[in-house]
Amino acid sequence: MNRSSDSLILENVSRRSFLKGLAAGSALVLAAKWDLALAQQEKPYGAEAMPGGWVDDPNVFIRIDEDGTVTIVNHRAEMGQGIRTSLVMVAADELGADWQRVRVEQAPGNHDKYGNQNTDGSRSMRHWFDPMRRAAAAARTMLEQAAAQRWGVPVDECQAGVHVVVHEPTGRKLAFGELARTARELPVPERSTLTLKPREAWRYLGKETGPQQNVTGDKVQRPLAIDGQEIVTGQAVYGADVGFDDMLYAVVARPPIYGAEVASVDQTEARKVPGVVDIRQIDGTRQPGGFEPLGGVAVLAENTWAAIQGRNALKIEWDNGPAGDNASYDTRVFTEELMQRAESAGQVIRSEGDIESALGNAETRVQASYYMPHMAQAPMEPPVAIARMSDGHAEVWAPLQNPQAAHDGVAQRLGLEPNAVTVNVTLLGGGFGRKSKPDFVFEAAELAKAYKGRAVRVQWTREDDLHHAYFHALSVDRLEAGLDAGGKALGWRHRTLSPSISSLFAEDPMHKGNFELGMGFNTLPFNIPAIQLENPPASAHVRIGWFRAVYNLSHAFAIQSFVAEMAEAAGRDHRDYLLELLGPAREINPQAVGDDWNYGESPDLYPIDVGRLRGVVEKATAEAGWGKQRPAGRGMGLAVHHSFASYAAVVFDVEVQDDSSLIIHSTDIAFDCGPQVNPERIRSQMEGACVMGIGIALQSEITLEEGRVQQDNFHQYEFARMRHAPRAIRVHLINDNPDIAPGGVGEPGLPPVAPALCNAIHAATGKRIRRLPVGNQLS
């Protein structure tokens, strides 16, 4: 079947399948509209559509030992979202396992065996809640069948309890461990015969986790973050914590300009550094560079420090010729170009009603342009990878969101069969999208090739991480609205300009793809008679990549700031005005507004639900005490956004003091992801999104001059520190409804944070922030 390249881009699971999609779709079908009928006809959705799909074989995910230990295989990447705990809770609950006797085992990258492992797009629960429950239900059924055999009774008299199977008529019991051997030999029951536990029978799912005091003050153990103990004692294993005797430690000098190449290297001084073992060149890849290494010069040493010292002593001449006009990329100049371009019409993405007459007949016109800079994901753990090649087999250890992409790339690069490559996934010291691109693994593989039998670790420094990120796309969004005499919106025109992630994989398309427009741009849920959405061109001059919540960040910042500006022009309360723009509760079919992507999900299962958008707005504002009189210098700001199949609204209560310092008193976040598997981890994701969003609003900006990133380390690329964190973050989870499909959690909390904060700053000071970060704009 011939599908949109868009649907393949978003998967970003393997470059191979992406390129296949490109060939099929030809000429980057990026903004091309899909024939609605075709899309409805054949398109698979959800996990079904992902490379590797889903797997629900209990023998793949669940192992029960004779001592009763239950091992559950987690095949998704753990990067702080808590999936190693939450997915194991799903399986343990359905199985009837006692949490104290459950352990987790991390799967290597192998989507043929485990199903899709690409941990991005806030998909883990959307795609794995059901398969994991079915796997566990099958395992439970096999235990019941084993008990029935043992007792010689009908299986329907045998019921699994907590880590035991009970013969109901007699009350006899057999522990899971006692049944393990027999159960293991049984055939896996047909999927259609499985019965999933009713919600009332859940012991862990949807319940609070972590220790709790009971009435006598004793701690009651409930499911606890599975890696918590190892983390607080320094025993948890992240990428750089994997090591081997006689391992080589490498750092790489990469071209400072995207696409540049090594012209010449003087290694003399570097070789004199004690501990330096070798110096090798790594070939780069011509643009588009995809997930390939940037190339450069690697210094290999007996320890990291010697490698860093050696790199400092290298004298490298770079050839900027292959970089083309990347060598003159200046983000300030580029931003002004986009601002200018935003004044003219662009490729039309969505058009309803007559925008020209709606704007022309308006009593009041509101217009504003917004800027969001490039940003680096900057996980606290910089990229790092270990590779070792021996006897025609390559093994990799790395913190990877997308181990399959690493696996396929290593096999291809080293000319190995797929089964001759093992990719082990460590804990991730944060991901945020950076670790879905395995360029750093390929560097390690490239070096390991030259040292057969010897492990090589490539360690990125923070400077490397900031200079060579896959940057969040710089963006300009221009909005214009026409209001009638009563302030009611008649027309809405939005032009969005931003380089596309597709520029990584093919000649720069200059326009956003559907998987980018669908992040809150063409999915605009407002009830306005005339809507015109346009996408003028913008080129890429650095590697552009996924950053937590991706283009939702810039779309939400612009749209949610602009709604506050419209409300002000209309002389209306912001919340009331926002609810009026949203209009009555209704479900919008994403395809009907030109979004055939919808995060890869079925439009029937996952429509844009305006009622749920209204619900989070009403909840967040009610909890925050919206509308209360605020003292001078104090203000509340609001924003709402739908993304990754979930709904989030944020209200900030801030104060700006006479010396222009900002105090964030509190944040109220209302979040609706439908059914809640692990509410405690959902809250922690919302809290984290809040703090990250504050950094996006106030501090974070990557700039380039003459093609070079200007920020070297955390003194220049800043994000929120504890002093910026709100005094209180209150998270209100609503709509825990098992009858609707689960939404994402990791990303959807982030987009509304920056606009809500900027709206609060405006409420407190009258100062409207249209360019991020706020920086010193308040002084």
Partner: protein, 155 residues
């Protein structure tokens, strides 16, 4: 050759004098709980204790701690305050990815050693050198208060 006391054990290390303590710990002694985050004392992921004082190991030359007592996250549970901080971290589910949390715990323990019952403002001042990209600061603040209260109960 540099002689160091790390977690109450003596180590003789054949490393250059200017090697930062961080890399000596991680690459030579193979204690990997102390993390690399920035290399410039900007993020705190590498925080250890030197004679009980929270110290950024990434900018501390190994020779400068010769003859002093270095404690890392792997051994902070031997310190009663450190143990209380770890428990508070677990009770409140502070960690997300966890990478920075060793440094946070070491820094928080250092704070509580000097100030048994810090205010929010004092916590912010003491902890703002420790970055967390996951954004766990509000729980860290609560956990430090909780560890302080646990300390008071014991006293």
């Amino acid at each position: 050759m540099v002689t160091l006391t790390i977690n109450r054990e003596e180590h003789k290390l054949d490393v250059p004098n200017d090697m930062p303590l961080l890399w000596a710990l991680r690459d030579v002694v193979k204690l990997t709980g102390t993390k690399f985050g920035c290399g410039m004392s900007l993020c705190g992921a590498c925080t250890v204790h030197v004679d009980g004082q929270a110290t950024r190991s990434c900018v501390t030359p190994v020779s400068s701690v010769e003859g002093k007592s270095v404690t890392t996250i792997e051994a902070i549970e031997m310190d009663p305050i450190g143990r209380r901080v770890q428990e508070a971290w677990l009770d409140l589910g502070v960690a997300q990815c966890g990478y920075c949390q060793g440094g946070q715990i070491m820094n928080a323990t250092g704070l509580l050693k000097q100030n048994a019952n810090p205010s929010d403002q004092q916590i912010d001042d003491a902890m703002s050198g420790n970055l967390c990209r996951c954004g766990t600061y509000t729980r860290i603040r609560q956990a430090i208060h909780r560890a302080a209260e646990a300390g008071e109960k014991r006293a």
